[in-house]
């Protein structure tokens, strides 16, 4: 076994460990609530450690796909030829960064779910299945398993939101599930078409990528299939006008699910556009990217405007996520190195930042049982630490230098100005709106007259501090020392087909 293969088992472990824990939890009696919590916290720590290892061990001067692992699943049967379906896992620069994000958010989310009392065992079973799906999607180098894990990540959401959620949870859960699966349907149709067009009898992604790049999948077909893939994945990335599940879903979801969902799951959509769009169908991507640029910009401006008018914390964050994912899509649509690098950095930045926001909202809502901004005031005196944490998230959201949001958005804006200056200007306008809705919140909630009704609110618990501190550390590190992040992402982005320097 080579060293690279050995590292492949580390990658496998990120999928196997959460699944194994879910299996152990199934056979744990539901009354052992503390044991469930400790097991889950440890699992989160293990995943975070594995993710950090993968991120650090990825060689920026090495091969594209590192830490390879391949187990043949089915081959030479009916329409499947050599290597028909294989559990093939590998890491590239983009997935290394997104895996790091997943590890941090998963750990923070597990700690934030410590408080859950009602059937917490079942909650964690679904939570770990979801995360196994997320890791699997990031690492899959086989189209079958890519889709397998992608769906696996979406599947548990219905119960997670429907059972443990809050405001209008049934509606939010059903809407979110149906819209996301509706997106998967388009991807599914796209997969059949791609496999049929490529006609090489394998779901191996690198082989299919080669087929897409050398024209085995004809340019006409690529132009037809690309919208299926882009819209299908785009639904999960809150692509305007398919974003409507995002505010409702986030409003209903429990804290940890909001964290993982906005933090990581939405990134699966944008990641899917890279994997199944830019890499698999480069001709189609060239043709359609201007359209994606328009939709991304509309999303960015629309999300920010809508956030400005909302009073519910979670709705503000839900719409702000739409806006930030709009930036991501704009970055991808530039089709130049700097823009796409910025998009991937923005995925990470928005992931940690939004997870922190939802963690804070959860910490407040669990005590106050309301999320109406107008009800609060002067919380800086009552919950100083909470306010500081929230403010950091807010400033990162706005893109203040020194925080991760600046690094990411700067790249996106530069990339956009190179190809589409008008849209670049609109994007900066949206960033200004972000400053407006964040400052509005600072003014009404953090400062201003103290509402005596809330003088008994408690500040963050130790666990919330720990998970918040991890997220803040990620925000700040990326804000000041971005080289390791950009190196890894850039290593892969420069080699994407059809991308200009």
């Amino acid at each position: 076994m080579t060293f690279d293969e050995g590292q492949g088992y580390v990658v496998l472990a990120t999928i196997a460990v959460p699944l194994l824990v879910a299996l152990i939890l199934i056979f744990t009696p539901g009354t052992q609530k503390m044991a469930v919590r400790y097991l889950s916290a440890v699992t989160g720590a293990i995943l975070a450690a594995l993710s950090i290892y993968i991120f650090v061990a990825y060689q920026v001067d090495g091969e594209q796909a590192q830490m390879n692992l391949r187990w043949t699943w089915v081959e030479n049967t009916a329409f499947l030829g050599e290597n028909g379906i294989a559990l093939r896992l590998a890491v590239d620069g983009i997935s290394a960064l997104l895996a790091l994000l997943t590890g941090i958010v998963a750990f923070a989310g597990a700690l934030a779910s410590w408080k859950i009392e009602y059937r917490n065992k079942d909650f964690f079973i679904l939570y770990w299945i979801l995360l196994a799906g997320v890791y699997g999607t990031f690492f899959a180098y086989d189209l079958f398993f890519f889709f397998f894990f992608y769906e696996l990540a979406v599947m548990p959401l219905y119960l997670l939101i429907g059972v443990w959620g809050s405001t209008r949870k049934e509606y939010g859960a059903a809407k979110l599930t149906l819209m996301l699966v509706g997106g998967s349907v388009l991807i599914w149709i796209g997969i059949f078409a791609v496999f049929h067009q490529a006609n090489i009898g394998t779901f191996d992604l690198p082989s299919l990528w080669a087929a897409g790049q050398n024209g085995t999948i004809s340019p006409t077909a690529q132009k037809v299939i690309f919208p299926l893939m882009a819209v299908g994945c785009g639904v999960l990335a809150a692509l305007w006008p398919f974003h409507t599940w995002s505010p409702d879903g986030h409003m209903s979801a429990p804290t940890a699910v909001s964290m993982v969902h906005a933090g990581v799951l939405m990134k699966l959509g944008a990641f899917g556009i890279i994997r199944l769009g830019i890499q698999l169908l480069p001709e189609g991507a060239q043709f359609w990217m201007p359209a994606l640029m328009v939709l991304g910009t509309v999303g960015a401006v629309y999300g920010a405007t809508a956030a400005l008018t909302q009073r519910d914390f979670k709705l503000i964050s839900g719409y702000s996520s739409v806006s930030h994912m709009g930036y991501v899509l704009m970055g991808l649509a530039t089709m130049n190195t700097i823009g796409i690098t910025g998009a991937v950095l923005q995925m990470f930045s928005h992931g940690v930042m939004t997870a922190l926001v939802f963690l804070m909202i959860g910490a407040l809502y669990d005590q106050a049982h309301t999320r109406d901004m107008k009800e609060f005031g002067g919380l800086a005196k009552v919950m100083p630490l909470w306010v500081i944490f929230y403010a950091i998230a807010g400033l990162a959201n706005v893109g203040l230098p020194g925080f991760s949001g600046f690094t990411a958005e700067f790249h996106i804006f530069v990339g956009t100005f190179r190809t589409y200056p008008v849209f670049g200007a609109l994007a900066i306008f949206a960033a200004a709106l972000a400053a407006a809705y964040m400052l509005r919140m600072f003014a009404t909630v953090f400062f201003g007259p103290t509402n005596p009704h809330w003088k008994d609110l408690k500040d963050l618990t130790p666990l919330e501090r720990l998970s918040g501190a991890m997220l803040i550390a990620s925000i700040v590190i990326m804000g000041v020392w971005w080289a390791p992040f950009i190196d890894r992402v850039g290593h892969t982005v420069t080699l994407l087909p059809g991308v200009t320097g």
Binding site: W73, F79, F195
Partner: protein, 496 residues
């Protein structure tokens, strides 16, 4: 030479059937649930004998019946279904009044044997007779609850419409015989290949009538009207039997018939199967949304599934032998997944209904609280139907659709994927009842019969295994599909 040894597994099945009926007849005091276990044991022996026939060279019985891996595949499927349904029924039937247990279990075995003959038939009348044996067994089984009016009504509707469809089928056969001059599949193919090209009205009408007849048997829209009523009135295990065995048998017959006898006339019938598929899946899934009764929901959902499977038959007509092999392998593996899933669903439902006595969807309210294991099995089955990963349906549906993808069929594939999205909606409505609401009345945990519990657990493992590691099932399906498209085996059929 007449090779009677080809039917050894069916001798076992029918022998046990006679034994079970005789025990009931001559020893009426005999414990009834033992009959169920005896039947299960018989099915197991039948399965074992069936295994011995795998991997053998195809052998024909007088040009009427071909014993190859395709036949063996359906034989094993039939034995497995009978085994599980018999075990499922043991507890259920004890609670019903006025049921003849011997007949019930005996007919399960007879119906299973009929399915094997349908899969192996290479001659029209043999196929027709096997089809009728199966249908008559089902007519009786559906109406076996003599004192239950709904069961009687269901049986009556089933018989009337079934007889009508048999007549259509027979008329179709006679037209085919009239134009081809033979009833052997290979002979028909040869006669049609020799004929001048161009549309022959008699052939076209004959094929359409046959299509309507088999469409009825697999409950394809617009010939599906009997299914919801029959499903609803039949005892629960028979509903499971109907939605697995009778559908699999129908497809066994269609596959062999249309891949050999009528393959040269593909242009005449392929569009009809495509239209039938599109209509069936859409009708099934759309009507399923409005259902309140569990059995009717499953009935319409299984009509939707039939729609997906029919695409395969259309693909047989649109592609060459390789496409046919791909599509058929996909269909067979999907049948395995579908059958395991349906049986898992019904074993859990039977256990739940044994307790609550309600067959409505709201009857499952709060099941996650009162019996989490059953709720898990039901959820896994429904997710498997919807094609979500981890569960059999994800892999098998992907193989089914991918195998049937040709340039002409891809729009129906897209429609099918959209339909499986619709189906997720009504499955979620069931899951919602179990997980999102508190139980009505007694909220304490209840115990499940160990046999049913074990059955559900084994089937759940089956769903997960096929879903996560579909390789073996897919390879087995390809092995079973291969004889249909092997030129060599076709030649062997011709020489009796």
């Amino acid at each position: 030479m007449r090779d009677y040894a080809l039917f050894v597994p069916e001798y076992i099945a029918c022998g046990v059937a006679l034994l079970v009926i005789a025990i009931e007849l001559f020893a009426p005091k005999f414990r009834k649930d033992v009959l169920a276990y005896l039947t299960a044991l018989g099915a197991l022996a039948w399965f074992g004998a069936g295994l011995a026939f795998l991997d053998r060279d195809p052998k024909s019985y007088q040009g009427l019946f071909l014993s190859d891996d395709f036949t063996s595949f359906f034989r094993l499927l039939a034995a497995g279904i009978v085994f599980i349904v018999a075990l499922m029924s043991a507890e259920f039937l004890k609670r019903q009044k006025g049921v003849d247990h011997g007949e019930f279990y005996g007919l399960l075995l007879v119906a299973g044997s009929a399915m094997t003959i349908m899969a192996g038939a290479t001659e029209l009348l043999t196929a027709y007779l096997a089809l009728e044996v199966l249908s008559f067994s089902l007519y009786i089984l559906v109406g076996i609850l003599k004192r239950d009016l709904r069961s009687n009504e269901a049986s009556l509707k089933y018989i009337l419409l079934g007889a009508f469809s048999s007549a259509l089928f027979l008329y179709g056969l006679s037209l085919v015989y009239g134009t081809a001059g033979t009833t052997s599949y290979a002979g028909i193919a040869e006669a049609y290949a020799r004929r001048d090209s161009g549309l022959d009205p008699a052939v076209a009408v004959g094929l359409m009538l046959i299509l309507a007849g088999v469409g009825f048997k697999v409950s394809a829209a617009p010939f599906h009207m009997w299914a919801p009523d029959a499903y609803e009135g039949a005892p629960l295990p028979i509903t499971a039997f109907l939605s697995t065995l009778s559908k699999a048998a129908g497809f066994a017959l269609i596959l062999r018939l249309f891949s050999s006898a009528f393959v040269t006339d593909a242009e005449t019938w392929r569009w009809a199967f495509l239209a039938l598929a599109a209509l069936t899946m859409t009708v099934g899934n759309l009507i399923a949304i409005q259902q309140k009764n569990l059995k009717r929901l499953v009935a319409y959902s299984s009509i939707g599934q039939v729609g997906y499977m029919l695409i395969t038959i259309a693909a047989l007509g649109y592609g060459d032998a390789q496409v046919g092999l791909n599509a058929t392998s996909g269909l067979l593996v999907h049948l395995i997944g579908y059958i395991v899933t349906t049986l898992a669903l019904f074993s859990a439902l039977t256990a739940a209904v044994n307790r609550t006595g309600s067959e409505e969807i709201v009857g499952l309210r709060g099941l996650a609280e009162t019996q989490p294991f059953l709720a898990l099995v039901i959820t896994a089955s429904l997710f498997s139907f919807a094609g979500l990963p981890f569960f059999a349906g994800f892999a098998t549906k992907l193989f089914l659709f991918q195998g049937a993808t040709t340039d002409e069929t891809i729009w129906v594939i897209a429609l099918a994927v959209l339909n499986s999205f619709i189906s997720l909606y009504y499955y979620l409505m069931v899951i919602r009842q179990m997980y999102l609401f508190d139980p009505v009345g007694d909220a304490s945990r209840f115990r499940v019969q160990p046999v049913v519990w074990g059955l559900a657990a084994v089937l759940l493992v089956g769903i997960l295994f096929i879903g996560m590691y579909p390789g073996p099932a897919f390879e087995f399906s390809e092995q079973a599909a291969r004889p249909l498209f092997d030129a060599a085996s076709a030649a062997r059929v011709q020489a009796p």
